[in-house]
């Protein structure tokens, strides 16, 4: 049987494939412990140290190496990601709710929304900048022009996630609620929303992480105050130091923390849903 030979070979291949995916990250992790401030972003490691981590937090004596401008940029990026998350999730839930029944023009609306994730960021950013500069005559800011560009990108993801959730949704509970005379708005709040909450959480996580790391749209649309990816991009043109790698390790840890919070919330909401279901069975 060929698959008896094929399977182990492909197993080894997948191991190598995953090594390929993680290679740069392993190197990045190692070099973040390079000796400082003379040690550069290359091998070999002269001496292991946490210098670049301390450098990141301004805990090292001043040297010729400028600190990464992460403080304010980080706060801006977090704020922007939060704004984007809330807006695109609300828009996504609303639009997906409208798609529960097929309607005339649904194809057009579907493609219009999905187009937002298909158009390269560099084009969205360029177009919005042109509009701001030449038509609206407003100054570009991360919380205005970059914000709308981010939502254009994350709204389709939220929409698709909610669409997938609502497709599997049992509408009879809602109908039961309506027929008992509960208003549609209250039904949504009390019945529909708790049931689709795991999907909403996923949509929020998607929107937040996509916006937090979004770079091409932000580059043109954000004006003079930098967000985090722009601050990192700024270091591309100058000499690179291992502080950027130390920062990479830190942001990854932060992302995992975020992921853990998501996992906990998800687990709690599933457990609560189970509890409710059990209570119903008892009654």
């Amino acid at each position: 049987m060929e698959s008896k030979i094929l399977k182990p070979i492909l197993g080894v291949y997948v191991a190598l494939f995953i090594l390929f995916l993680y290679g740069p990250f392993i190197v990045l992790g190692i070099i973040s412990f390079q000796q400082g401030p003379e040690g550069g972003p290359q091998f070999p490691i002269i001496e292991w140290s946490t210098y670049w981590y301390r450098h990141l937090f301004g805990m090292t004596p001043p040297s010729r190496i400028a600190p990464l401008p992460v403080g304010e940029a980080l706060i801006r990026s977090l704020t922007l990601a939060f704004m984007t998350m809330v807006t695109s999730t609300v828009l996504g839930v609303m639009a997906a709710q409208a798609f529960r029944k097929r309607f005339r023009g649904s194809g057009f609306v579907f493609y219009l929304i999905v187009l937002g994730m298909m158009v390269p960021g560099v084009l969205t950013g360029l177009g919005i900048s042109l509009l701001a500069n030449n038509v609206l005559d407003i100054e570009r800011h991360w919380f205005t022009t970059a914000f709308v560009a981010h939502v254009v990108y994350t709204f389709p993801f939220a929409f698709l996630v909610m669409l997938a959730i609502l497709n599997r949704f049992d509408g009879s509970v809602e109908e039961a609620s309506w027929s008992l005379g509960v208003s549609p708005a209250r039904t949504f709040r009390k019945v529909t929303f708790p049931l689709i909450f795991p999907g909403v959480l996923s949509a929020m996580l998607f929107a937040f992480t996509l916006s937090f790391d979004e770079f091409p749209r932000t580059l043109f649309a954000s004006g003079r105050d930098q967000t985090l990816p722009l601050a990192i991009y700024g270091t591309f043109s100058v000499e690179i130091h291992p502080n950027i790698f130390a920062f990479g390790v830190m942001t990854t840890l932060f992302s995992f923390a975020l992921l853990a919070v998501y996992g906990i919330l998800m687990g709690l909401s599933i457990r609560r849903a189970k509890k409710v279901a059990m209570q119903e069975e008892i009654e």
Binding site: K7, F17, G23, P24, L28, P44, L126, G127, F159
Partner: protein, 288 residues
Amino acid sequence: MSAVTETKRDKTRLMLLAPGVIWMLLFLIAPILMIVYVSFWTQTTFSINSTLTLESWRNFFGSEAYVGALWTTLKMWLIVLSATFLIGYPAALYIGLLVKNQTIATVLLVLCVIPFWTSFLIRVLAWRPMLGKEGAINIILQKLGLIDTPIEVLLFSELSVIIGMTQIYVVFMVGPIAFMLGRIDRNIIEAARDLGAGFGRIFWKIIFPLSLPGVVVGAIFVSVMVLGEFATSGALSGRKVNLLGNIIVTQVGSLKWAMASVVGVILTVLLGIVVAGFLRIVDLKREL
């Protein structure tokens, strides 16, 4: 259903859809139309005005550097697309079809996605200490005695851009293909095997055709991202590889909005052709 509730339902739907649709029309469609419009504006050294002219278009097609960037973009797109497919398909085949245990398959997929929680730009930068003259790959190859002198072509070349982009985008190919492979009814494969078909025949006659929608979705993802790229080529090629995206960035940097718009329109048209082409291969709406 009475006419009154029907109109009421239409009204609710309209209210639910309006914010999203208006958002996309204002901040996605209008900006793209604006790019087309501005590509015909008159650009002077310090300013731009709305007198319509073909000057920027003539400049683009008259310049070897710009047209060269168009060819480079097409070339890099083709290479990275093939590389992500060739490298990604076997991995997807293993994860989506050959691993019988659902938990292991999920763990493998999650392992593939984890690197995405590191900033994109830092992932790009991490290839520098990997590929450099004194980089990890050269050190390992030298320690193994496979090479005497470091390979210099690894960094600041087309090759480094291809390696970097392939690693960053290959997962977008693996995911959809693994998903489609996972949906194949194993009984079909069993039946074919019972009828005496070898693995090669089963693969080409059953597995590959059924995974095609996944390949198309993956190819669209990778194409959209690679065609709009500029950061990877900027960071890893040492300005040797200029893609259309890089031209847009430099033109905007020197406030040449009209030329940036010309390149933007060309990029949009290119993408339209590519995506439409892929959608002709497979009717996604029917498959999904």
